[in-house]
Each structure stands twice: as structure tokens, then as C-alpha cells.
Symmetry: C2
Subunit: 328 residues, 2 copies
């Protein structure tokens, strides 16, 4: 299929090389496909990562106020424990390291193995697992709910806390609080194609969408005919709001594109989300619209709601200096 | 075709409504499809705009340090003079207004008509026309070169100058300097589909790309088989470097996605651009990679080079606070 690439086996490394050349605050460890901060501070280190193909996740979230290192596997494949261990080493400034893991079996296994290897080196390592996707209870690659776009808000919250000089336990605690209040639900309209493959991973009918599809094309809840954006927003939010009581809360909202959806359509979705939440007396403290956790060129979107308290609001509003999530 | 939308006739208005709800520093004039700053300052006002479908252009560039108002027409259709006049009124703080126009016949005609209407109201209005696309000398919708992604850098440079308290003449002069040193060349791999249409505007063979295609799908230079990213970058840069002598210069670089290209591929392109410019002794002062001037869900990219002097470097590095071009 049509891709701007050279050797598909080198696409991840070359992408990361490009990022590090474009962003002067990033360094790139080519041997392990780790992107890390050039100006690491003396604070709790934050590491995330996973299979590539979800750009800007996770390297786009490395920088002041968010992650210290991101470890990329091949496209849709978990990085190995040795690469993750290297990410931990890069992020360890002597105050301990927190791993933020999306809930996929491969990632959980490899990140935990890396944590044990790092502990054997005398490093202090803790981890949290993000399971924000309310679509399905278990999935092709996960036991329990999948971790998707809500992970970006966990990066932001934990990053701001670490930046404030908090201890590893405190950073972990606020990440857990964020995880307990974040929910995401998505939908897809077109498949994606892995670099080097000639065929799509699945097909969808010409007028079909899949509700709850995963960011690797894993099966969702059901397929149906495409409906207007107002109804899509209602379907996604109904599922989220049935899962956690947000009434009377303040929330952060992320309307996330899966890679191939024009920004125009994402802003239309935002307009619907804004209307529906207003009707439900849920107040939006802050929101983001764009491509944050993608699936190559898949068309579709997800909606994330994060329930906020005063601490989370303050942390969300702290400045961050990253490629894909700058907060001024 | 598959779109996240409601009524295609209302998609532009609803997108702009969504933007204004998502971004607290933006106001929306629903009658004229104008997005403008809520906190207009006493300085030269900057207005841009054009047909919708190129998001985040131009509303995503409204904010401190860039534009004061953006006027959107229907998808790929110029806004009318009355709407542009309203944008001028919103941006006019008594210090004069500069219009930044992409070179398409409809835009040039309507913006100039609006400028005359504004002058009849006693307003001071000047305009500049961006013609950065080196692909073709004339095009379907333009006499002379088309204005494309380089326009974003003109917004940034002129915006920073206006923010510094410069006069209308000074802001216009620096915009002209920027225009004289900015060149862009693009390519496309897939067509886009206008909201409400059932068919694509053109077709490209399964393994074909079009070099120099316009952001409305207008014909480019030639079609050929897809080649590796290294060769695509070479083809695009060769055309730019043959047009203006950048040897020994410092430049700003924009690797722009047309909407449907994964960020992964844009960073691969950046890596190639970085390599080629290094070989030519052209130093990158600052760069951006992402979707800045799109064509709905078209897959493809463009490369923009802006020749810098000390003044332009300073202006480029000044902070800006907009949805799509934040500089900290």
C-alpha cells in the first residue's frame, strides 16, 4: 500500500531519528528505539511506550512536564524488556521511576520484566496500568480493558506531579487517581495497513462503522451503518457515562483522531460532545482535539473523559513542553 | 463517503463552533463564519482565511502572536467579501489591518473587495499574497503560483511583528520579506472527498503518486510510481532548491501532512529532509512536523523552506498561543 517510507523494517527507527532531529530537547538511542529527554532533571522519572503506529504516542509526550523516556516496539508490537530497561536507565535520576503501561498483555509482561531487571540493578521502579477503554471487558491482546487515548492524560498528570518534586509514591498515587477517573470509547470507519503489508487487517462495509474498535483493529462492540456525528457522539458518551458517574463533575475531554480523520470532523465531534455534556450538567475544565493516540491511517475517533478534582485540575494546567501536548 | 458529520451544508459552521467551544481564547461569529480573538490587543490586526477543508488553517492560527481573525468559506470555496469585511472589523484595533491571502483567484478577488469596503469605512487595510508553491506557474484556480503551507510561516512572522508593536507598514514589509524567501513543494497519494459528495474528485492508480498536486486536488507536475521516502524528499527539495538559492543559509522547515498521512510517515520524511539539507550545507534553525495546511483526508505531504535572517529568526522564536502553532 501507499506509504511515505523507505525500508518498512526500519520505519520505526527512522521515524524516531526524524523526531530527535526535529526536536532539540530529545535524544534518541538508536540501539533500543528509546526517545529520552536531553535535559533530564533530578526528579521521579516517567517512562511509557509500547508498539509503534500510535504516533504521536509516546515519543511525542517526552519533554518537560510529561515523560522522560518513551520506548517503541515495532509497529503494533511491544518493545522487549531490554529496550524498556534502557528507557528506565535513561529516566532514572536517582529518585525512582514510574512506568505508565497501556493494558496489553505483551506490554504488561515486558514492562514488568524490565522493572524487575531494573530493580536487580538497585533501581526503584513502580508501575501503573491504564485501562481506560470501556468498549469491551477483555480483548484480543488484553486481559481486562485496553489502554488507549486516556493514557495521554495520565502522562500529563503524573508528569506535572513529578515535575513538582513529588516522591515516587506520590506520583504513583496521583497516576492511580487519574486512571480511576478516566474513561475512553472509540469508533472506526476504515482499517489501517501495516508498513510493508499489501493488505488491510480487516474490512468494513462502504457505509459501516465499528463501535469500540481497538487501536490495533481489534474487534469492538458491534458494527452498524454510519450515523450522523451527533449520534456517534451520543453512542460513545452513553457508554462512558453508564460506566462512571460524572454528573456534577468537572472533566477534561480529549477528542482524539485515529490518524486518518480530518481535523474538521474532530471539531464537529467536539461540538456534539460539548452539547451533550452541557445537557448532563458536566462542566468541561479543559479539552483537547487532535491526533493523540492513533492507529496509523485509520479513520475514526475516540472520546475520553477524565473526572477532575482540585489537584488534578492544577496538574493538568501546569506547563508542559513536548512535541504533541504543549500546555502554556 | 464516510465522514463524522451531520448536515454537510453546516459542517464548516459546526466545526468553527466546536473550535470556539474547545479554545477559550476564541470567539465565533456564526453569521459570517469568522473565528477571532476574544482578547484583541491594541496592535496591527492580522486577518487570513479562505475555503475550509484545510484545517487547522486558518482558525487554528488565531491567537496571541499570530492571526486576530480567520474567515472560512465553504469547503474549498472562498468566503464572500461581506464575511471577510466582518473579519477585518473584528481585527481592527485602530492600528490598521493586514490581510494575508493565499494566491487563488477567488480569494484574491474577495479579499481585495473586502479591503476596499473596509477602506470605505475609514479603515486602514493592506494585503499580501502568498505564492509559495513552486510546483506549477499557473493553476486551475490561480494566476501565478498557488499559496499553500508556507502561509503558516507568514502568519507566524507577521503575527510576531504585529505583537511587537510595529506599524502596519512594518508588518507588511516583514510579511513580504517572508513571502520572498518561502518555497513549498508537495505530493499526493490519495484523493479527498468533499463532505456530502459520493465520489472522489480524481483518482490515482494503486501505486501512483502525483508530484506537485494542489491542496484542492488541482493537477500537479506529473504522476509517477511511488518511490521510497528518500526519493520523494529529493524530488520535492530539488524543485525548491532549484528555485531559490538556500546554500549557506539558515532555514525554517515545515514538513506538512495533507490530512490522511500518519505522523510516522511525516517524521520519516523529516529525517530525509534533515539529511539532504545537511548535505547541502543548509542549516535548520527550527522546524515543524504535522498537519498544518491539509486537504481533508488526502494522503501526501509538502515540504516548506523559509530562508531566514536575524530578524526572521527572532520573530519565528517569539511565543505564540494558538491551537495549531504554539511556540513556547
Amino acid at each position: 500500500m501507499k506509504k511515505l517510507m523507505n525500508d518498512p523494517r526500519q520505519i520505526v527507527a527512522q521515524m524516531l531519528s526524524g523526531m530527535s532531529h526535529a526536536l532539540p530537547f530529545l535524544s534518541f538511542d538508536r540501539q533500543h528505539n528509546v526517545i529520552y529527554r536531553r535535559d533530564m532533571e533530578e526528579k521521579v522519572g516517567l517512562v511509557s511506550g509500547g508498539g509503534a503506529g500510535h504516533e504521536p504516542a509516546h515519543a511525542g509526550y517526552v519533554g518537560r512536564g510529561m515523560l522522560d523516556a518513551a520506548v517503541a516496539g515495532n509497529v503494533f508490537a511491544s518493545p522487549g524488556p531490554d529496550a524498556i530497561l534502557e528507557g528506565i536507565r535513561k529516566a532514572d535520576a536517582g529518585k525512582g521511576v514510574l512506568l505508565i503501561i497501556k493494558n496489553y498483555s505483551g506490554d504488561v509482561m515486558n514492562f514488568q520484566m524490565a522493572a524487575e531487571l531494573a530493580q536487580m540493578e538497585g533501581r526503584e521502579v513502580e508501575s501503573v496500568v491504564v485501562k481506560d477503554d470501556v468498549a469491551v471487558p477483555d480483548s484480543t491482546y488484553s486481559t481486562g480493558r485496553r489502554g488507549i487515548a486516556g493514557t495521554v492524560l495520565v502522562h500529563k498528570i503524573a508528569g506535572a506531579k513529578a515535575e513538582s518534586g513529588a516522591s515516587l509514591d506520590q506520583v504513583k498515587a496521583v497516576a492511580e487517581k487519574c486512571i480511576s477517573g478516566v474513561r475512553t470509547m472509540g469508533m472506526a470507519m476504515t482499517p489501517c495497513i501495516l508498513p510493508g503489508m499489501q493488505e488491510v487487517g480487516f474490512t468494513l462495509g462502504k457505509d459501516e462503522m465499528e463501535i469500540g474498535m481497538g487501536i490495533h483493529g481489534e474487534p469492538g462492540v458491534h458494527r452498524q451503518k454510519i450515523v450522523p456525528a451527533a449520534d456517534v457522539a451520543q453512542i460513545l458518551l452513553d457508554k462512558i457515562l453508564a460506566d462512571l458517574d460524572y454528573a456534577g463533575s468537572e472533566v477534561a475531554v480529549l477528542v482524539n483522531g485515529l490518524g486518518g480523520t480530518p481535523l474538521m470532523e474532530l471539531y464537529v465531534m467536539w461540538d456534539e460532545v460539548y452539547r451533550i455534556l452541557g445537557d448532563r450538567d458536566i462542566r468541561i475544565h479543559r479539552g483537547w482535539v487532535g491526533n493523540y493516540m492513533t492507529s496509523l491511517e485509520m479513520a475514526g475517533c475516540s472520546i475520553t473523559l477524565l473526572k477532575l478534582d482540585e489537584e488534578l485540575k492544577l496538574l493538568l494546567d501546569r506547563p508542559s513542553m513536548t512535541a504533541a501536548f504543549p500546555v502554556a
